[in-house]
Amino acid sequence: MDEPRDICQLADGEEALLGDMNLPEATGDRLREMGLLPGATVKLIRRAPLGCPIEFELGGSRLALRRADAAQIFAQQS
Amino acid sequence: MSDWQSWAAPAVVIITLGILLWRNLRPSKEASCDEECNCGKKE
């Protein structure tokens, strides 16, 4: 695959290693502080009943992100 | 009709009005804390 996958594209229960993110400085900082760093493992748990937001598991915590934000966070290409 | 009541009531009203105005129109920094906090302290 040439195009890097964003983490919205994961299937339910699928894990991925984080790569880059393409978010504004302040938003990106907060997510990095929460552990969304390159190399960390995220797992897509479920989508909300209306499709957004999306629940992820990261380092033992569950976080929900909106699709628009999560679409700017990419998985490492395997 | 008790006479003293007809001046006591307006007096209570005026005092109340005074307290209300004083509480709400004093400098805004202090007005923001109507719960007990360290209002009296100077910045």
């Binding site: 209306l50 | 009541q5 923001s32 804390c33």
Partner: protein
């Protein structure tokens, strides 16, 4: 004697900070605001094993000491000793979650670099173990050289060990400040916990996952939510009636006691009608406020609230709100004051502001008596079903109003900050009744304090407006017409005439600017000459009221117009005061009054005028 040692409680949101704070301090706590910002300041005192008192400050939840919200800024400033209103703490209790030590130690290690002694509390060891994570706290304690206490704060497991740590001389951690960025800190933390955290790596379904399978299920999730909301509203509007009647009766008894003991006169009228009547009219909402906070506390305490935000976010996003605005708006259906206070849980100042601005449109319970009276007048021979339908229509109108105005504000307010929606979904846990009770007690206390101060003052002023200047007439309604409020009613008559109101209704409108429910009692004074307990008689005389042209004053058109006016108009001084306090500026409070009342006027005008085409 030395002043007691002060411990600051620091941790990420959802770590169980409040639970631990309550466990340490019990009822010996104070809730206030940090001056200048709308961040809650919680302080309390506890006793250590030597019987010495210590103070605890529960600092707002934070993810990092590089602040990104007003809450986090307060935490940072207090820890640096930069807030003049709060002395720098002597030591810090860092609360971390055993299930995700890396992330929680991010903040904790930043705190260790502040040159303050620390105690580390590793909380929620039970839920971590359910996920196959065990933390060797002894190893961490050896490496850091400070007490590291494993706990389950909600079950009070580990309190004993924490008490031991609190009773010893606090020490600074053996931690070398991290140079570099976020990644460097995570690397250093990784080294610190190496070999101290064991994960069995097994895939498993925790009890929390099973709950989620139902509670955020695309079908069952909504059913459960609807059921809970249904239960909430049922309790709010039917069961609450019993304690409310009791309060009503108590205040009635109180005023009859005063009447029996005092000679007739102005002061007696002030005490019975102004003070007892006015304060009683507000205190009567206490049961509803307590019920509301019971439900919110229960949902928050168990972790269900985060799931509600998770499900509702999409519906709120369309108008620029987020899922976290759902609860403040829901609360506003009982009363906008706790609703606006509940916006504090939202990180984004902009979202907080929009939610605060639209919250008064929700149909709070103070509108209910007005609705009930007007609907009865409008449909004198209507069935209960028809009346309920009108009531439902008013609720729908208020929901549409909330959405529409949130949309407008979202479009017009400038977007200075980048809003990011990150919602943590903590593992479910058993509710702590004690904690829910404490929260209800806190909220009830704040509410009663308001009733005893601001509301008391306003009731006295309102009483004066309807009493002075006096006439010699013994007739109550003539006296009212002569009073300042009566004159105001007449003065605004030309303005409200196009809406279908006369000056008597004008008095009701003027009086309800302090509080909506006053409309009912004012109307009863106007139409019966004196206050009457039996609503029936008021209704009959109101229904009999005629206009100059012989038409009934309260025809369908006028009633509809009044109802629409009451849906939108900002007629609650307490809400104005809360908005003023929560936004820290008169600007937003005044904007709220102007836009809501202005829109109410236009909407009522449209209702009356358009109604003219269909109704006589």
């Amino acid at each position: 004697m030395n002043s007691p040692r002060t411990f600051a409680l620091v941790g990420n949101p959802n770590t169980g900070k409040t639970t631990l704070f309550n466990a340490l301090t019990g009822l010996r706590q104070k809730v206030a605001n940090y001056p200048g910002v709308t961040v809650e300041k919680k302080t309390g005192t506890g006793r250590n094993r030597h019987g010495e008192a210590f103070a605890v400050i529960d600092l707002p939840g934070a993810y990092s000491l590089e602040p990104k919200s007003p809450d986090e800024e307060v935490t940072r400033a207090v820890l640096h000793g930069e807030r003049p209103d709060t002395p720098r703490p002597d030591a810090v209790i860092c609360l971390v979650d055993a299930g995700n030590l890396e992330r929680h130690l991010y903040l904790a290690t930043q705190v260790m670099e502040l040159d303050l002694p620390v105690i580390v509390v590793v909380n929620k060891t039970d839920t971590a173990e359910e996920r196959g994570v065990t933390v060797a706290t002894k190893k961490l304690a050896e490496r850091l050289g400070v007490p590291v206490v494993p706990m389950q704060a909600n079950e009070r497991v580990g309190m004993e060990a924490l008490q031991v740590a609190l009773s010893a001389e606090p020490v600074k951690a053996n931690w070398k400040p991290v140079e570099g960025d976020t990644a460097a800190r995570y690397k250093a933390i990784g080294k610190l916990i190496e070999g101290a955290v064991a994960r069995d790596g097994e895939e498993r379904l925790t009890p929390s996952d099973r709950w989620d399978g139902v509670l955020v299920h695309p079908v069952f999730g909504w059913l459960v939510l609807l059921g809970i909301l249904g239960g909430l509203f049922f309790t709010l509007f039917s069961l609450a009636g019993y304690p409310m009647d009791l309060i009503d009766g108590t205040f009635g008894w109180l005023s009859s006691q005063v009447e029996a003991r005092m000679a007739d006169g102005d002061l007696r009228a002030l005490i019975t009608e102004g003070i007892i009547g006015g304060v009683g009219g507000v205190v009567i909402f206490l049961p509803q406020i307590l019920i509301l906070f019971f439900f919110i506390g229960l949902m928050e305490n168990t972790g269900y609230l985060a799931r509600v935000s998770f499900m509702m976010d999409r519906l709120m996003a369309g108008v620029g709100l987020n899922g976290k605005a759902f609860v403040p708006l829901l609360s506003s259906y009982a009363c906008a004051i706790p609703g606006i206070m509940a916006t504090r849980t939202m990180e984004s100042a902009r979202d907080r502001l929009i939610t605060t601005l639209v919250a008064p449109i929700t149909s709070c319970s103070a509108r209910l008596p007005v609705y009930v009276m007007l609907i009865a007048l409008m449909l004198p021979v209507g069935t209960a079903g028809q009346k309920a339908l009108v009531m439902l229509g008013l609720y729908v109108l208020s929901i549409v109003g909330v959405y529409a105005f949130a949309y407008v504000f979202n479009r017009t307010l400038d977007r200075k900050e980048q809003t990011l929606f990150v919602l943590e979904l903590p593992a479910y846990q058993r509710p702590s009744w004690r904690e829910i009770g404490l929260q209800m007690y806190d909220r009830g206390k704040i509410f009663l304090r308001r009733a005893g101060t601001v509301i008391l003052g306003l009731s006295i002023v309102l009483w004066a407006l309807t009493t002075y200047p006096k006439t010699d007439s013994e007739d109550g309604s003539e006296q009212l017409a002569h009073s300042a409020a009566g004159r105001m009613g007449k003065a605004i008559e030309p303005v409200i005439e196009p809406l279908g109101y006369d000056w008597k209704m004008g008095i009701g409108l003027v009086a309800s600017f302090a509080a909506r429910e006053v409309f009912v009692s004012t109307m009863s004074i106007i139409y019966t000459g004196e206050e009457q307990d039996e609503e029936k008689t008021i209704r009959t005389s109101m229904a009999a009221e005629k206009r100059a042209d012989g038409q009934p004053a309260y025809n369908v058109r006028t009633c509809l117009s009044l109802l629409v006016f009451y849906v939108f108009a900002m007629q609650c001084l307490s809400t104005v005061a809360v908005t003023r306090r929560e936004t820290n500026s008169w600007k937003w409070a005044i904007l709220q009054v102007v836009y809501l009342t202005g829109f109410a006027y236009v909407a009522a005008l449209a209702t009356y005028q358009i109604g003219g085409f269909f109704l006589s």
